[in-house]
C-alpha cells in the first residue's frame, strides 16, 4: 500500500510528465497564438508563460471530453482575453502574410494578383482586422489556425451555426471596408 506522501509524489510526477508532453507537442501552436495577440517579442514570451501556467492549473480538470488541441486553444484564447486585461481594448491582432495566404480568409486570388497588390491588400487587411471587436479578433485568429467551425464553437462556447454566421459577417464586413478603402485610394 502506498502512503499518502508516496501517492502525492506519484500524482505530482504524473502531472509533470503529462504537462511536459502537452507543452512539447503544442509549443508552436501556443507560440502562434501569442504572436497573433502581441507584436512585441517580450509580450509574446510573457503571454506564452502565462498560458503555460494556466495549462498547469487546468491540467487536473482535463477529462478528455474535448480534443487536446481544442483544450489548448481554449486556454490560449481565454488567457489572451484576460491576460491583456486593462489593455484588452487596445489588443492588436498581428497576422503574418503567410497565415492569410494559407487560409485565405477573404478569398483573395493570389495567383492572378501582383505581389505588390497582394502586399497592399494584406496591409489594408491588417488595419481592418484591428478595428474588429476583441471576440471577432479571436474568431479570426482561430480561423487562421485552421480550426473547423465545430472546433471554434467548442472553444468559444457558442453553437456551430452561430460561429458560421459570425465569421461570415466578419468576412463580409472586412470585404466591404476593404472595397470602400480601395475605392477611396483610387
Amino acid at each position: 500500500m502506498l502512503s499518502n506522501v508516496q501517492k502525492q509524489y506519484r500524482n505530482s510526477s504524473m502531472k509533470e510528465d503529462k504537462f511536459n508532453k502537452i507543452v512539447q507537442e503544442n509549443s508552436e501552436r501556443i507560440r502562434r497564438i501569442c504572436r497573433y495577440y502581441n507584436s512585441n517579442v517580450q509580450d509574446q514570451d510573457d503571454m506564452f508563460q502565462e498560458i503555460l501556467i494556466n495549462i498547469w492549473k487546468s491540467l487536473d480538470n482535463f477529462r478528455g471530453d474535448a480534443s487536446i488541441s481544442t483544450w489548448i486553444y481554449r486556454i490560449a484564447v481565454n488567457t489572451a482575453l484576460t491576460y491583456t486585461g486593462k489593455a484588452y481594448k487596445n489588443m492588436k491582432l498581428t497576422i503574418n502574410i503567410n497565415d492569410v495566404s494559407q487560409v485565405n480568409i477573404l478569398d483573395f486570388d493570389h495567383d492572378t494578383e501582383s505581389k505588390e497588390k497582394v502586399e497592399s491588400q494584406f496591409e489594408a487587411l491588417q488595419n481592418e482586422l484591428n478595428t474588429l471587436s476583441v471576440i471577432d479578433k479571436s474568431l479570426i485568429s482561430l480561423t487562421l489556425e485552421g480550426l473547423s467551425m465545430k472546433e471554434i464553437a467548442q472553444v468559444i462556447g457558442i453553437t456551430e451555426p452561430n460561429v458560421k454566421v459570425k465569421i461570415h459577417r466578419i468576412k463580409q464586413q472586412l470585404k466591404e471596408n476593404l472595397t470602400a478603402s480601395n475605392h477611396e485610394t483610387k
Binding site: 517580450q42 510573457d46 487546468s58 481554449r74 481565454n78 471576440i135 472553444v155 459570425k166
Partner: protein, 182 residues
C-alpha cells in the same frame, strides 16, 4: 501566481514545472494555515463557553454568546474556503463564454457565497449582544457594530469600484460581443 519575466524554452521546462509545483505547495500550505486558525477558534469558543457555564456558573446567555461566536467562525471558515477555491482555481480550459460568465459572477459584489458572510456577521452580532462583559446598552453595541460593518462595506466597495468593477465590465462587454445576434 505572477509570471516572472524569464523566457521559457522547452529546455528549461523541467525547472519551470518545479517552480509551479513549489508555488502550488506554498499556496496549499498558506491556505491550510488560514483554515487552521478558524478550525481552532470554533472548538475554542465552544470549550470555553461550556467550561465557564459548568465550572464558573456563567449564564445561559453567555454560553449562547460563545456558541454564536463559534457558529460565526464556522460560517466564515466554510465561506472563505469556498471563496478561496473560486478565486484561486479559475479553470481556463472552459469555453470562453462560460469562463467569462463566471468572471462576472465572481466580481459582482454581494453575490451568492459572499452573502454567507452576512449570516456570519449576524451570529457575531448576536454573540456580542449576549456577552455579559459589555456594560453598554444594546443600542450602543448595535451602533458600534453596524458602524464598523458599514465602514468595512464602504472600503470594500471603493476597492471593488477601482479594482474589480473594470474587470467585470470588460467581461460583460465580451459576453455581449459573443452573444450579440445569437
Amino acid at each position: 501566481m505572477k509570471p516572472n519575466k524569464e523566457n521559457i524554452t522547452l529546455n528549461d521546462l523541467g525547472a519551470f514545472t518545479s517552480k509551479l509545483q513549489e508555488k502550488d505547495k506554498k499556496y496549499a500550505t498558506q491556505s491550510k494555515r488560514l483554515q487552521y486558525v478558524y478550525w481552532f477558534l470554533i472548538p475554542f469558543y465552544l470549550i470555553l463557553g461550556t467550561y465557564d457555564y459548568i465550572f464558573d456558573g456563567t449564564t445561559v446567555k453567555e454560553f449562547l454568546s460563545q456558541v454564536s461566536f463559534a457558529i460565526a467562525m464556522l460560517v466564515f471558515a466554510l465561506t472563505f474556503r469556498k471563496l478561496a477555491k473560486e478565486y484561486n482555481f479559475v479553470d481556463y480550459s472552459e469555453p470562453t463564454l462560460t469562463m467569462l460568465k463566471k468572471v462576472v459572477k465572481r466580481y459582482t459584489p454581494f453575490h451568492g457565497n459572499s452573502r454567507w458572510v452576512f449570516v456570519a456577521l449576524i451570529f457575531l452580532d448576536a454573540g456580542l449582544c449576549l456577552k455579559r462583559q459589555f456594560d453598554k446598552d444594546l443600542l450602543h453595541i448595535q451602533i458600534v457594530f453596524l458602524g464598523a460593518i458599514a465602514i468595512s462595506i464602504c472600503v470594500g466597495l471603493i476597492l471593488w469600484l477601482n479594482k474589480y468593477k473594470p474587470i467585470r465590465d470588460a467581461a460583460k462587454q465580451l459576453i455581449n460581443d459573443i452573444e450579440m445576434n445569437n
